[in-house]
Symmetry: C2
Subunit: 333 residues, 2 copies
């Protein structure tokens, strides 16, 4: 179908054709086809809302693409509040020259991922700007929070354990490999986590905190959670799950997997007594087979330990970790 031209953003006939041919053909939805600017859908009790924009290069990579990424990102942000993800809106900003076949594949991938995650795409918008063929996608989502569920960043407590749902750094290493033209078989972990979170909640484990491990990596996420709770988070270096190929990729480039982003991993913080059960539940899920207990939450022994994230090594060393500073790594999103 060729390239995006400015006329595709006019709001007139060309915009209508683009929407019908590219978007509606994939996002089969009664709600979307109603020719309305706002979707009307059933609501229920307490709702969770989130938004995220996706500006990743390359648009397609082993294990995923920007379309799968944006659905997963929004679904996962909702899940991290214990919500059942329900509805997604998507806003496309297309640069003139964007490849329409690529756009078609991306949209197909969004539709498939939405199906997998059990969410409905209910509203959309398309704008065209000048530029060099870039495709940017914003997604926003709504989910319903089951009664009694209260999961948030500051809820970590003394004696909780920290579980990560699988290998860290995969997505980041995949995108970097693509950008740098390095040949390997590393695949992005790009995945929706509603099954995992749903099962944790169904199993009545009193989950204190959930957070997906994205930009900034595990260290940034855990440091933010430590700050939110004011407690001390201890991280055990030898427990960190890293794929051997990702590990050697990082070694080669001098990168630290702790600061590398994922797109299908979560951190769960639960009371110690539920650690084994939580680990079992997560490992029983499609994207949780490599889940590990990687750390613990403790009361700070002094002021310097308040909100601290401390890496403990096998030989007894301890190192304070901070959130990602500066660029740190070649950017992936």
């Amino acid at each position: 179908m060729g390239k995006i031209i400015m006329e595709h953003g006019s709001g007139g006939r060309a915009t209508g054709e683009l929407i019908r041919e590219i978007f509606e053909s994939q996002f089969h939805s009664d709600v979307l086809s109603e020719m309305e600017d706002a979707a009307v859908v059933p609501g229920d009790g307490t709702i969770a809302m989130t938004t995220d924009s996706f500006v990743v290069t390359p648009l397609e990579f082993p294990g995923g693409d920007i379309g799968r990424l944006c659905i997963c990102g929004t679904v996962n942000d909702l899940c991290m509040r214990g919500a059942v993800p329900k509805y997604i809106t998507c806003g496309f900003i297309l640069e003139e020259g964007a490849d329409i076949d690529t756009l078609r594949r991306i949209v197909k991938s969004m539709a498939e991922t939405a199906d997998e995650a059990g969410v409905k795409i209910v509203a959309g918008d398309t704008k065209v700007i000048e530029g060099n063929g870039g495709i940017y996608i914003n997604t926003a989502g709504v989910g319903f929070v089951p009664k009694g569920v209260d999961i948030k960043a500051k809820n970590a407590e003394d004696d909780d354990v920290i579980i990560v749902s699988g290998n860290v750094g995969d997505h980041h290493a995949t995108v970097l490999s693509q950008r740098m033209g390095i040949k390997n078989t590393i695949v992005s972990d790009n995945a929706p986590l509603q099954e995992m979170v749903g099962k944790l909640i169904e199993s009545k484990i009193p989950v204190h905190v959930l957070r997906d491990v994205t930009r900034g990596g595990l260290a940034t996420v855990l440091k933010e959670l430590a700050l939110a709770s004011g407690l001390r988070f201890d991280l055990f270096e030898e427990k960190l799950p890293v794929d051997p190929q990702v590990q050697s990729f990082c070694g080669l480039l001098g990168l630290d997997p702790l600061y590398m982003g994922n797109e299908g991993k979560l951190v769960a913080i639960v009371p110690k007594d539920y650690a084994v059960q939580a680990l079992e539940v997560i490992r029983s899920c499609k994207y949780g087979e490599n889940a590990c207990m990687v750390g613990a939450v403790n009361i700070p022994e002094d002021e310097t330990e308040e909100g601290a994230l401390i890496m403990r090594t096998e030989i007894g060393g301890r190192r304070f970790l901070d959130i990602l500073q500066g660029e740190g790594l070649p950017r992936i999103c």
Copy 2:
């Protein structure tokens, strides 16, 4: 504070500073300050959802700016389904080099407009891309639809009247004037319409259709509504409210106000028996003083009239109008 640099999008310290200094300082919100990726807010019954991206140049113009625009646009899309707008998410895509003082003004304007419209900004996201200092904003919104309200595009009926809430073309003419360096005192109509819609619904007028008159202008909007209903929409040329200054601006450039966008006008389609009451309600509202009845909905007399929008002139002429085709006008969004 200078310019946006790539580091502002790293997800690390610089991102945190940008969010705190620019966004949180304006969007005073308990929900936003919780350091969560998804907001959790009360939900109720039937919800409306919408999204829109804003890519307008210039970022600031007489009567508004991209910040006021994005809040109004989302609020209005929700209102057009009869919903009471409640929650907004915003995603910023900032090009490297974007001016931070400008961003600050835009964010302030968003906060003020959200206050005016009675909505809460509950979640946000910021990404930085390479480029030339552009600022793009996506907003998504959620509103609650009162019981019994069912307003949608295809609900127009025979014998309905078509009301437009004020002068058409103002926003488009403002932005064009700015872009072309033409000096005049035309001001954008950029405004939130929740008061108007709320009063229409409270007054128990059985509103069939509401639609805000944005990209593509009144003609495009009415043609889309005619198509959705399959009926014939008649438009009376002499009734169209156009500001004299906008009219002469259009005359000068050979533009048609019918195809020019607004950002604070709506079309209301109501049964003829309620026309006077609806007009009174709309005129009593802050942004409705120039409301007019501009047309009527009728049963098509033959196939060519099904879904047709027909302009009727004072001297008995009739002209079929279509949606905006091609670029038509210099683009404003």
